[in-house]
């Protein structure tokens, strides 16, 4: 059994490649996880997330690349000696054991004596909010209870790294939201280093210290949730995060002031946002959905017919159709009174905050 606070450096994933026949599941993935950190691996289904977990766990061998723990290569260490925990998407609870035996399994493999084992299992059952569930049969548990038992089972042996594969995927919304609050608290409380795999950006942002976005077997971006949301590195990531107001444009210079020219108009933009892009470059323009206001005044405006409007409690989500049939989504504060669907809407915004541009190739 590992001591509770092992002075670990970190997990290093170095240039992992894995192909299944003609399909390249992972294509040179590298990133680090720091001690005590919760790292989310975010990506659409089929981007190679589960394969990556299987490789870290040692259930699959990479075609190329290394998994290092504390600078030691784990290549020749079988899964059961890695001291990692994995909570499966379908929980994989042992149907022939009750809750207690499921939780105790890891400690039994490590030959804990019965008294200590019992104490530890009950401690973790308390921690996940299931006191008194020891003798329950797995088949009698609800979805949420199974989820907690699965989490508890992977926590009991105090793994140096906990991996969670879409752990909230099968749960109802209320339960999901409650666990979204509880889970990070729980993990921080234990200073648990964790990798959290999900396709849901909301989950990743709510839980993780840092997020690595995977696309088609490659790392698309690594950063804190705020970084990624504020500065998505590519059109793909912007789309994946639900930032859908994307349309083509071109960079122009007005003296020393850059601006972007689009089908919907021309607006100034901050020079640092352009990076290495030059005048004349074709770009994709992102208009952030939360950067607009409904007041008719202001120098920079966008006009369109209201197509859809839905009330989301603290905000109003509107879809307008601007010129050239370009559809734009916006989130407005809920205090506004909206015109009816089909009427024209005039929105103003601060172009220096609202825009981001991407090189057309990204």
């Amino acid at each position: 059994m590992l001591p509770k606070y092992l002075p670990v450096l970190c997990l290093q994933i170095v240039n992992i490649h894995k192909a299944f026949g003609p399909i390249h599941a992972l294509n040179g993935v590298s990133f680090d996880v720091h001690p005590g950190e919760v790292m989310a691996v975010l990506g659409p289904s089929g981007c190679g997330k589960s394969t990556l977990l299987a490789i870290i766990a040692g259930l699959e061998n990479p075609d190329q690349g290394n998994v290092l723990w504390d600078k030691t290569d784990l290549k020749d260490i079988p899964p059961h000696q890695r001291g990692f925990g994995l909570m499966f998407q379908d929980y994989a609870l042992f149907p022939h054991m009750n809750v207690f035996d499921n939780l105790a399994f890891g400690l039994k493999m490590a030959h804990w004596d019965a008294d200590r084992l019992k104490k530890r299992v009950e401690e973790v059952l308390d921690l996940v909010g299931l006191p008194g569930f020891s003798q329950r049969d797995i088949s009698t548990l609800s979805g949420g209870e199974q989820q907690r038992v699965a989490l508890a089972r992977s926590l009991v042996p105090q793994p140096r790294l906990l991996m969670l594969d879409e752990p909230l995927g099968a749960l109802d919304r209320t339960l999901r939201e409650r666990l979204l609050l509880e889970l990070p608290t729980l993990l921080r409380q234990m200073n648990q280093t964790a990798i959290y795999v999900t396709h849901d950006q909301e989950e990743a942002f709510a839980l993780a210290d840092r997020v690595v976005v995977l696309n088609a077997g490659q790392v698309a971006q690594i950063g804190t949730p705020q970084d990624i949301y504020r500065q998505p590195a590519s059109v793909f990531i912007a789309r994946f995060l639900g930032l859908v107001n994307l349309f083509p444009g071109e960079i122009r210079m007005h003296g020393s002031n850059p601006f972007i020219e689009t089908l919907l108009g021309a607006w100034p933009i901050d020079a640092p946002k352009l990076g290495k892009m030059n005048s004349g470059d074709k770009v994709t323009v992102l208009l952030r959905p939360d950067a607009v206001d409904l007041s008719p005044d202001g120098p920079y405006r966008i006009q369109g017919r209201l197509v859809e409007c839905s009330f989301r409690g603290n905000l109003l989500r509107v879809v307008i159709e601007a010129e050239h049939q370009i559809q734009l989504n916006f989130d407005l504060p809920a205090r506004f009174q909206l015109p009816k669907v089909g009427e024209q809407l005039l929105l103003n915004f601060d172009p220096r905050k609202a825009f981001q541009v991407f090189n057309i190739t990204t």
Binding site: P79, F94, F105, A110, R153
Partner: protein, 590 residues
């Protein structure tokens, strides 16, 4: 069954387990009563009527006689040993079939099914043609070391008995355990691995306990088969070894000691019943509702060299054990090896199709000559009829068994006791001496109230009796594993009971149904004991035709028997391949 009748049945179906069971068990019970208990009762009654010293005397004779005690003891331990060996060979094979996809898999699967359907006579001949004094291996060794006498002594040894039992029954383990295993969620093992269990601990704590219902089901079938083994012991055991079944045969046909034979029959039945009850006791605590997975999810190609090596050695071993004797048989059927009697000179050898050509020739101008093609057609019609009968009886029975298992978990165990009784009742036909049963059919079903002498259904009915327990045993684990919630979900979605069966139960147990149908089909094709007593001369099955050839003297008859055995083997192989193909396209994975 049309939709209206099902709707009308609905209120009764909901009345509770005992009455539902009675409904489901109705047909199987009537069948067992009329075609099992009635004939068996008739023959036993007749036998004991001849015992002058009273009903108990033959039993006392068995207890007193060391020879008879030995027979009982040998029957038990050889069956136990054979079962263990069969599991030892079958479980690695089941693992390979369950967890990996590889080229030639369905061919391997089909090949391994062939021995099971061969008449014992043919299997014994096949091994004789490989390992016997004039088998390929001894001939080869004699040639190599330039000796005149056979070097390997195989016939009339315990090894021969055990090897042929394993040869016969490995497919039971492959099918029952393999199919169940292929649908077990591999994540469970991976979860255990990550919790610190090494491969052996995963096997011990996770895989084996979850497989336990399938393993015990397979082991019980194998054990009962070995326990009641007849032809193998008669031919390969020689004078040293006799099981109770063989002893019944000797006592009936050789010594005409019908009371002793009847007592042995009853003793054999009691043993079978005891083992079955023991099994039910064990298995009721083992079965769990599992989330079964499709094979796409559980199986992977052989990617690493380690897994390839493993696959090659397991498949290679299975091929050597199962296919070598069969190909040896096929080769013998086209090879002339007959030397003159007592001659030690060179054997006149050569490839020949003479034996096949002779099959269509009615050399003795026999009135009852039937060309082998007709025998094959008759066998196939009987087998198809058996499949229909066995499934029609087996599905409701297996359903009743699985339903009660589930409802008893909710604290309603009223029907449980009845079910256990019925469960063991339906295992009895396998445990019953085929000789006794055949005689029973002849005696009881040849006069009013039930005169079936002239009916062509008589043989399919006898075959159904033997196949029925296999069908139920194959179906029950799969049916038990359907989570009740799935049926409830379908009902809530508006499915009528018949639609639930059609869209939920059937797709989920589809594979098990095919396994069950395969069993019924092949048991019927290979059954010999009862058939030989019941078949009318103008309608022989293939095994009966083979027996006709083999019981006549002379090399040409022996060759013809081998040729016909080879044809039967081919028919079974084609049938098995067809089922494999159908399984992939039709019923699909699940």
């Amino acid at each position: 069954m049309d939709r209206d009748s099902v709707t009308l049945n609905l209120p009764r179906l909901r009345a509770g387990p005992p009455r539902t069971n009675l409904l489901l068990w109705g047909a199987p019970l009537v069948f067992l009563l009329v075609f099992y208990l009635y004939p068996l009762g008739s023959i036993l009654n007749l036998s004991f009527a001849r015992s002058e010293a009273g009903f108990l005397a033959p039993f006392i004779e068995i207890i007193r006689s060391p020879a008879e005690r030995n027979v009982v003891w040998f029957t038990i331990w050889q069956a136990a040993l054979s079962t263990l060996l069969t599991l030892g060979v079958g479980l690695p094979g089941a693992y390979l079939m369950a967890r990996y996809q590889f080229p030639g898999k369905s061919l391997l699967r089909a090949l391994t099914g062939v021995p099971f359907v061969l008449p014992t006579l043919v299997a014994a001949t096949a091994f004789d043609s490989l390992l016997g004094p004039r088998g390929w291996i001894n001939l080869g060794l004699m040639f190599l070391f330039n000796k005149d006498a056979p070097i390997i002594n195989f016939n009339y040894t315990l090894t021969a008995i055990l090897v042929v039992h394993v040869f016969y029954n490995t497919t039971i383990v492959l099918r029952i355990v393999g199919d169940f295993w292929s649908r077990l969620n591999p994540r469970l093992g991976e979860a255990a691995r990550l919790l610190g269990a090494d491969s052996w601990q995963v096997m011990r704590h996770i895989t084996l306990p979850l497989l336990a219902p399938a393993i015990t089901a397979a082991a019980l079938l194998v054990f009962i088969f070995d326990f009641t083994s007849f032809g193998v012991i008669l031919i390969l055991g020689g004078p040293h070894f006799a099981t109770m079944e063989v002893e019944i045969f000797y006592q009936t046909t050789g010594l005409f000691n019908l009371p002793l034979a009847a007592a042995l029959s009853i003793l054999q039945l009691i043993f079978t019943l005891t083992f079955t009850l023991l099994y039910i006791r064990l298995s009721s605590g083992l079965s769990r509702p599992l989330t079964l997975r499709s094979q796409d999810y559980t199986q992977r190609p052989l990617r690493t060299w380690r897994s390839r090596l493993l696959a090659i050695s397991i498949a290679g071993f299975l091929l050597v054990l199962l296919v070598l004797p069969l190909s040896s048989l096929a080769l013998r059927s086209v090879t002339r090896l007959e030397g003159d009697r007592g001659q030690t000179g060179p054997v006149q050898r050569g490839l020949t199709l003479e034996f096949y050509r002779q099959l269509a020739v009615n050399r003795r101008q026999s009135l009852f000559f039937v060309p082998p093609t007709t025998a094959i057609a008759i066998s196939l019609v009987y087998a198809a009829t058996t499949v229909v009968f066995a499934l029609a009886l087996g599905i409701p029975a297996a359903w009743a068994l699985s339903r009660n298992q589930q409802s008893s978990q909710n604290g309603r165990g009223t029907g449980m006791a009845i079910n256990q009784l019925l469960d063991s009742l339906l295992m009895l036909p396998i445990g019953t001496s085929a000789v006794t049963l055949g005689l029973g059919f002849v005696i009881a079903l040849s006069h009013p109230p039930l005169d079936l002498r002239a009916s062509l259904l008589l043989i399919p009915l006898a075959h159904t009796l033997v196949a029925f327990p296999f069908v139920v045993r194959s179906l029950t684990p799969a049916m038990r594993s359907i989570q009740p919630r799935l049926r409830q979900a379908a009902t809530v979605l508006g499915a009528s009971p018949s639609q639930v069966i059609r869209y939920v139960d059937f797709p989920l147990v589809g594979r098990a149904l095919l396994v069950a149908a395969t069993f019924a089909f092949t048991i019927s094709l290979g059954e010999f004991g009862a058939t030989s007593l019941l078949a009318r001369p103008e309608f022989p099955t293939v095994p009966v035709a083979i027996y006709r050839f083999i019981s006549r003297p002379g090399g040409i008859n022996y060759g013809q028997a081998l040729a016909l055995s080879t044809i039967l083997m081919g028919v079974c192989l084609v049938g098995m391949l067809a089922i494999e193909r159908f399984r992939i396209t039709g019923a699909g994975e699940f």
